[in-house]
């Protein structure tokens, strides 16, 4: 029986230890994340004065400016194009690779190690190498492929060339997550299907995909969020003189440019709040959509 108004020694001790244990984390989170989030939203109602000095309250003017700003709309569209190419293709490739590596195959761990390799390389270095591979005059791609393309300076294709780097960088990571999901699939499903004479492709679509759909959904949601924040590769590959700049810069690139290069933190904050809203909308849609195709056991 619990005594109201009197707490036991155990409860008191759990309260004290509990707060001691979470205090560092909570202090850090509140100072580093929770307060800054509100400050950023607050900042988006201000205009930074000349030379980055002074904050002038402008109400919703930044938001009006964002909605009328073709550069922001173009950046949003670039970001979405990048995500539409990178996310589905990387998921399909990595799912197929995971299914292959889940078979009894010689050199499994060697393949796994190779596919995962881009995950441990700095994106700045990866971007440099790809920039060199894509170089229109001396790049490896134009040497070995027929015809010559301006992979990263043709505004029509540059964003897709960048998405290819994104896919190359992330397939190994997705694959490892899928492999973990595949470990959970009971082997007898496949044995039963084999007795029924199912082909490998039928097994893939009728057993593997439905059974690991929770993993696919998880990878999809997290990859969309990450793809919408693409920055490193675009920043490294497309310099300000590149004719494809307008057709490749993402929302985060604009955020960086406004906040830290032009020192207009008010407008930078507005762009990042817009990004937050877009990501939330996309995530909510996926959460609603999952009921149609994700099977939880």
């Amino acid at each position: 029986m619990r005594n109201f108004g009197r707490i036991t020694a155990r409860e008191k001790s759990e309260f004290i230890w509990g707060w001691i244990f979470i205090l560092p984390t909570m202090t850090g989170l509140i100072i580093l994340n929770i307060i800054p989030m509100f400050q950023t939203i607050y900042q988006s109602f201000f205009k930074t004065g000349d030379f980055g000095k002074g904050n002038i309250f402008v109400g919703l003017a930044n938001y009006q400016k964002v909605f009328a700003d073709t550069e922001v709309w173009q950046a949003l569209w670039n970001t979405i194009k990048y995500a539409i190419v990178e996310v589905p293709i990387s998921i399909i490739i990595s799912l197929v690779l995971a299914v292959f590596l889940n078979e009894k195959i010689k050199g499994r761990s060697a393949f796994r190690t190779i596919f995962f390799l881009p995950m441990v390389a700095a994106p700045a270095a990866i971007a440099m190498v790809w920039r060199w591979l894509y170089n229109s005059e001396f790049g490896l791609l134009n040497q070995i492929l027929p015809g010559k393309a301006n992979w990263i300076s043709n505004p029509k294709i540059a964003i897709y060339s960048i998405a290819v780097i994104g896919i190359w960088s992330i397939v190994g990571y997705n694959m490892v997550l899928f492999l973990a999901g595949l470990q959970e699939v009971p082997k007898d499903y496949y044995e039963a299907a084999a007795i029924d004479g199912a082909t490998g492709i039928q097994k893939f679509f009728n057993i593997t995909v439905p059974l690991i759909s929770p993993t696919i959904f998880f990878v999809l949601v997290t990859r969309v969020i990450a793809a919408m924040q693409v920055f490193d590769v675009i920043y490294m590959i497309i310099d300000i003189t590149n004719p494809a700049l307008q057709k490749t810069q993402s929302l985060v690139c604009l955020f960086y440019k406004y906040s830290f290069q032009q020192n207009n933190k008010g407008y930078g904050a507005t762009v990042v709040v817009v990004l937050l809203v877009v990501i939330m909308i996309l995530t909510v849609f996926q959460m609603i959509g999952q009921k149609k195709w994700v099977h939880y056991n």
Binding site: W17, M26, G28, N33, F116, V120, A124, A125, E137, L276
Partner: protein
């Protein structure tokens, strides 16, 4: 499985491995070429005519890599230490202790995990610059002092441990702090390692934060120094590749040595993100 199917699988896996390795191979090959050799087209040259180390000497002369390594390793070590210590204690409290305010606080942890990090950057930068920490190690460490994600990961780990252990410790007269330190925390070592690897890899790869808080080439990380270098020697690809190789090699070597821990660490933490 039929032998023919297996052959097809091998062929696809080998082609994919080739695609994954070519950029790394090209980075290494170019790093040993001269500018003339790297732009030679007719005949097209794959291997350097002579394996020269001049590019490495030249970039090492222009950029203090020892300094950059020190900055990067110190930042990674401190971030891993902070994340693991704060996340393990907080994860234990959230998983195993009952106290007023716990649910609200855990709600904040989950909330932080859902917000894109760019939204914190402007105020974090203003704090760092008000504290006078730009171009310092403290500035690099700053956003990594605590880890919401790590707290979540360690909470999951503690939730998976049997209740009986704690009760036994309590009967033996351990207080909560002792139970945590001697009995429970050692059992989550694998999650701590996973969090450590995850933190290290993402700290190493981060580009925007070091560029903002440590613009000075001597005080920044390898990743952000590479970005700067690209601006300086835009067209000298052999030197850029040499620099990229110097920056990537240690992490790749560590990865190849501890690949099992790396892949499992990132898979278990990434899978719970």
């Amino acid at each position: 499985m039929k032998a023919s199917n297996k052959t097809i699988i091998y062929i696809i896996l080998i082609i994919m491995s080739f695609i994954m390795l070519v950029p790394f191979a090209w980075m290494i090959l170019t790093a040993f070429k001269t500018v003339g050799g790297s732009t030679q087209m007719d005949p097209f040259v794959i291997f350097p005519s002579k394996w020269r180390s001049d590019n490495f000497v030249e970039v090492a002369h222009n950029v203090d890599f020892v300094r950059l390594y020190f900055n990067t390793i110190a930042m990674i070590a401190l971030r891993v230490l902070c994340a693991v210590v704060t996340a393990t204690t907080a994860g234990y409290a959230f998983a195993r202790l009952n106290f007023k305010g716990k649910n609200l606080m855990f709600g904040l942890v989950l909330f932080q995990m859902m917000i894109p990090t760019q939204i914190f950057i402007i105020p974090q930068y203003i704090m760092v610059s008000n504290l006078g920490w730009t171009n310092t190690l403290m500035g690099l460490l700053f956003p990594g002092l605590v880890s919401a994600f790590g707290t979540f990961l360690l909470r999951q780990a503690f939730m998976g441990l049997p209740k009986e252990l704690e009760e036994a410790a309590r009967l033996d007269g351990c207080n909560i702090g002792q139970t945590f330190l001697y009995i429970m925390a050692p059992l989550t070592k694998s999650s701590m390692v996973a969090l450590g690897i995850f933190t290290a890899v993402f700290a190493y790869k981060d580009l925007m934060w070091p560029m903002i808080v440590c613009p000075d080439t001597n005080h920044t990380t390898l990743a952000s120094a590479l970005a700067k270098m690209q601006g300086q020697f835009t067209t000298n690809y052999p030197e850029l590749m040499a620099a990229a190789l110097i920056a990537c090699l240690p992490m790749i070597v560590i990865y190849v040595l501890f690949q099992k821990q790396f892949i499992e660490g990132i898979a278990t933490s990434g899978g719970k993100l």
